[in-house]
Symmetry: C2
Subunit: 441 residues, 2 copies
């Protein structure tokens, strides 16, 4: 134990281990980037005199949250166009704004803003999909956010790829960056069954397999997709179509999966694929209600995602937990099936499993990476606290997070980032917003 | 203008006046408890040298929020019992806890905790309904929260009223306190058509009329109420039944009003009664989706309410705005009908109208009470800010509120209460929670 460099002592610890142990007045020993030991108050190993001891009393500690679906650069479009029908929103506002304003510099600025929001809100890992994924990945690396950064693939021009025939060249180059190591890894994001041909999907998955990369795809988000796919995609619904193409396996992540019937849920469960649930975005765009209980029953790996800031308009997993729980109760009329602890698991160990990172993150256990967050409990809404899972899902907010560690590195303290200049991040974002607003006006 | 004592200068001001004017770099002159003038940057009246000038640049200013339905003392039961069926939740947890633990002292402690949460979250007016309403009212008065504080009426024993025949004696005594004046006024809360007899409802409304007090009632919250009322209440649905009894008028507030058909909405519109919409509570208890668009179309006065902390589990109107907008879009499949500005109006001028306080509060206009809040915009999630209504509904959080004024009195600055000891409020609440937990264990 002499290699323990940091000890967190006191507070209530939600380990999110397999038995969901909750320890009062616990201590966590951290050696470098990993957790060396976790112990309740009475059984703490000796602490080396040179270790830093951090007092966490009065706080709630849990694993850093995992956001399984974001489009980080889109924070520059936060609130640009709301309360509009999807088609008008996309075609008159978002696509033109992307075509005009998305370039490596704006991607860098938008991603910096988003990573600041994620870390301050207790998210330590995210899975992103966008153009210029190499820039997104490098910003995450600079700022210390762990994650999977996927390059988007679509049968059309995209920012940075005006000639669609070059998509796979750009994608391969991005996947090559895996060789550089680090806790930010590249991946593949095929946009959707309705924007990618059969050939594109198969080729993208092949390339993902070649690099052992995750393969993401938006699927069954809106009801119209079902009819469209039945008409245009071999008479099959989206999930059945992906299954027939052999795209479902444990390295595939289905994003949204709102309109999925029980037989399709069985196919997903048998394949080992994971699902990213994006309730707030699905509500705001009027898409539908994800059948969480069906997925939980089948043991499908489930994570939460915020989607991009153009359709949410935040990157807040506390809201995502709260609203997914509430909407599940409302839609099913059954307040019992989806419980607070289910949501906290989805936001931590579930998301880690979806991303294939569950050996390293998702719980606070010896041997795992030291991705840990602490919430203050000194605001009126945080008391009384009878049940920490209820507290996290139904009462807590991202603003309660006041301490964040990723891989043993303390990135936020007292609700402030320690290694990023938030004033300059904000100033750059405001400058870009000025340009974007000018065009819209 | 020489009586202006305080000037707020700079920032973006959402007046919430009838034309929803938004002023950049505005100024507000305050004389005592009232707003003397509101002016854009270039047209500011001269400021008396003795006036205090407060710099609000970089902030968003708006009227204090109005919460039209709370049970403030129930914050002591926050998170005590979640993820349970309504019947089990009520009968095995909430009712026994109320019978055992609700007394004037616990009501005082729970209300103090709730008022602290309300004020810190930007709510400056609330409408409460509970037992021991005189205690709730007096705590609100001590802490400076404006509002309507209703004594509960039901055909059964209640905390403080073990003998149901004494309910009206207690109620009349509470209503007499109106004569004392002040911005905290007493009112009547008849629990529901299914817990009050016809005679009780009529008598309660008569007493409300005698004192010109508001009459609140929970109505059409859950679907089972419809069948129950048709069977037990003259063959009528709840709203039709209240209409037949002559209980609908401009001094009546219908709380929930989830299961209401178009003809009933017409009856409500014609009567002048207002509605308190409680989306988060309705979701968590699986009650249903309030037909906001039907109400907006008819011009029915509409406010937002959080309900009590046992069923929400917070008093946060920012979440209420966000979730009401999102759920309305999801349920109707129409993202256009209910817009961000509608929600901000419901949380301010709409709520004021529901409570009959619209001559005094709900907007920032000369002659109105100086109930004003300011939000900081320096967190990553607050930028870019293209549209302040979108920002408030889809991105902002209660934790962004950092300055609160009620009736010209500054109650919070830098997110901290200036006139209440939050540490002692928290300590008392934790002590009570210990007793309550002991019993539950």
């Amino acid at each position: 134990m002499s290699d323990v460099t940091t000890v967190l002592r006191g507070g209530t610890l939600l380990t999110l281990n397999a038995s969901l142990d909750v320890l009062d007045d616990a201590a966590i020993g951290i050696a470098g980037d990993r957790i060396a030991w976790v112990a309740p108050g009475a059984a703490q190993p000796e602490v080396p005199p040179e270790a830093t001891v951090i007092d966490m009393s009065g706080r709630l500690l849990l694993p850093g949250l995992v956001n399984t679906h974001t489009h980080l650069p889109m924070s520059l479009f936060r609130g640009l166009a709301d309360d509009l029908p999807l088609k008008e929103w996309l075609e008159k506002h978002i696509f033109p704004a992307e075509a005009k304003f998305i370039n490596p510099e704006s991607v860098r600025v938008g991603t910096r803003l988003s990573v600041a929001e994620l870390l301050l809100g207790g998210t330590t890992t995210c899975a992103d999909g966008y153009s210029h994924a190499n820039v997104v990945l490098s910003v995450a690396r600079e700022m210390g956010l762990r994650g999977v950064f996927a390059q988007g693939i679509v049968d059309a021009p995209a920012p940075g790829v005006p000639d669609p025939s070059l998509h796979f060249t750009v994608l391969r180059r991005h996947l090559e960056s895996r060789a550089l190591g680090g806790v930010q890894v590249p991946a593949v994001f095929a946009h959707a069954p309705y924007t990618c041909s059969r050939e594109t999907l198969l080729r993208a998955k092949d390339l993902a397999r070649e690099y052992d990369a995750l393969f993401f795809i938006h699927v069954a988000e809106a009801r119209w997709e079902l009819d469209w796919c039945r008409r245009e995609r071999e008479g099959l619904t989206p999930v059945r179509y992906l299954h027939r193409l052999g795209l479902l396996d444990s390295r595939t992540v289905l994003v949204h999966a709102v309109h999925v019937d029980e037989a399709e849920a069985d196919l997903i469960a048998a394949s080992g694929a994971g699902i990213s649930v994006n309730t707030e975005s699905n509500m705001k765009l009027g898409s539908g209600v994800t059948p969480i209980a069906n997925y939980l029953e089948r043991g499908i790996p489930l994570g939460l995602g915020t989607d991009g800031c153009a359709s949410n308009n935040d990157l807040d997993l506390f809201l995502e937990m709260s609203q997914t729980a509430r909407l599940s109760k409302l839609a099913s009329g059954d307040p019992v099936k989806v419980k607070a602890a289910d949501l906290v698991q989805m936001a931590t160990r579930g998301g880690a499993k979806v991303l294939g990172l569950d050996r390293d993150i998702g719980s606070i256990e010896p041997g795992k990476q030291a991705d840990i967050i602490a919430l203050r409990l000194n605001r009126p809404h945080a008391q009384p606290l009878y049940n920490p899972y209820s507290h996290l899902v139904y009462s807590a907010s991202a603003a309660d997070v006041d301490w964040v560690m990723v891989g043993g590195d303390i990135l936020a303290r007292d609700g402030k980032l320690l290694k990023a200049d938030t004033a300059s991040i904000r100033r750059e974002a405001v400058e870009w917003a000025g340009k974007i607003r000018g065009e819209q006006g």
